[in-house]
Subunit: 179 residues, 3 copies
């Protein structure tokens, strides 16, 4: 059994879509990110002590801009794709995430992994993310080692400054029971 | 020179096979894992201070269930595949692993990388792992930082509880000289 | 829209090229690395406090051999490829790097990520790296935790010994302003 050329092309394009998502997040490339989501995208991220749930591309962009701001030191490393085509213009995918997030001002560090389950749809000829959710597999939270210095922080000059940020607490619920 | 459609399909399917392996391990998905190995699979993992060697799918499942148990905080991040088709139904592959393993009760942490060399065979229409081995490239062992808290541990409720575990010391030899 | 079989084959081969690059570096496989670059390859790596710039495969090999020497504990984990074919024998690619570098003698540790932008060319039937550059996204520098032991260091016996090393300061400029 073999895939068709169209199927292999679609699998490659869906991988590109998600690679752009992680690159866009860690480089504050909002135009790139805005092109990746369906208008009615739904999100459900279940972390340790937080749960992020909302609908719509505009909410997604607000969430991303206000999470990966000028005080964020962020790595989102997503790989190990398992893409399944479920129709001519529909697909599903697992991705495995390894992420580091340091709040530069407080030096609080969160390190973890998560398993994404996404659905994709071809809309106007382009693959878009239509639903995305994850469950955390492991997560640690603690202070960054006192003698370690942050020597590069790409988002410092590109992320939203404190006075530019919006409150996004309506998109997140904080509760130790999510962990 | 180009690959055939069948060859590109096989390469994609072998990548899926190994992605499922790493996902299965970190989520205690024993049914998934059990479907990935040839009956006579052979294993040889050469780590720092340990060497794991055995034959057979049943031993492999025993090893996995008793390594990624309810006290394990585990990440197995495998990527950078180099798949070579060596016959119509045979292939080889390199994979690069980055892994974190924390023993939740003792807070001992092992972090490392390894280079896998695998052989795959199509059996009954499905690609299976027939031999897998790795050499560690780097490895560190130490206590987890005292002020860092584990906030998510997926295996805690899904891995084998202490009273369910089997002794697997016959599958592993411990010797500082393997490092 | 679909890729051709040749295009999908080229994308796979370019992924292999870069996977070999990272594997070669962390295993001191100089023959493998030497086969991956165009003769007139150009390099520009912009890190925190350092910038590496030069031209030519010979300089590249000198740089690699003298960076990943017998005192280096090194991980170069590159993934999330975004390969764009720009001609029959030309391509570009983004790659996301996560790397750890520990100087074993001083126990100084650098951890970071970088976004690579490469250009590739098919030369004599083989894809080669013709330009490679990166910008650091995040970087931390600090001492390795005192109670953590390095238990495997693959490069210790394979990397260049102190007396075999060459001075490579002409290939690197050190300046806090690059961060």
């Amino acid at each position: 059994m073999a895939y068709t050329l169209q199927q292999l092309s679609d699998i490659e394009d869906i991988k590109l879509l998600k690679h752009r998502y992680f690159r866009g997040m860690d480089t504050a490339n909002w135009d790139l990110l805005n092109s990746l989501f369906a208008d009615d995208v739904t999100v459900d991220f279940r972390g340790g002590g937080y749960r992020v749930t909302f609908t719509g591309r505009e909410n997604y962009m607000t969430f991303l801009k206000n999470s990966f701001h000028s005080d964020a030191v962020a790595m989102h490393y997503g790989s190990m794709p398992e893409i399944t085509l479920t129709g001519d213009d529909e697909a599903e995918g697992y991705w495995y995430l390894y992420d580091i997030f340091i709040q530069a001002d407080t030096r609080s560090q969160t390190t973890g992994t998560a398993l994404y389950k996404d659905r994709y749809r071809r809309i106007g000829g382009e693959w878009k993310i239509v639903t995305t959710e994850y469950d955390r597999l492991i997560e640690f939270v603690g202070p960054m080692d006192a003698s370690t210095q942050v020597t590069v922080q790409y988002l410092a000059t590109r992320g939203l400054k404190p006075e530019e940020r919006q409150d996004i607490r309506h998109l997140i619920s904080f509760d130790a029971s999510h962990g």
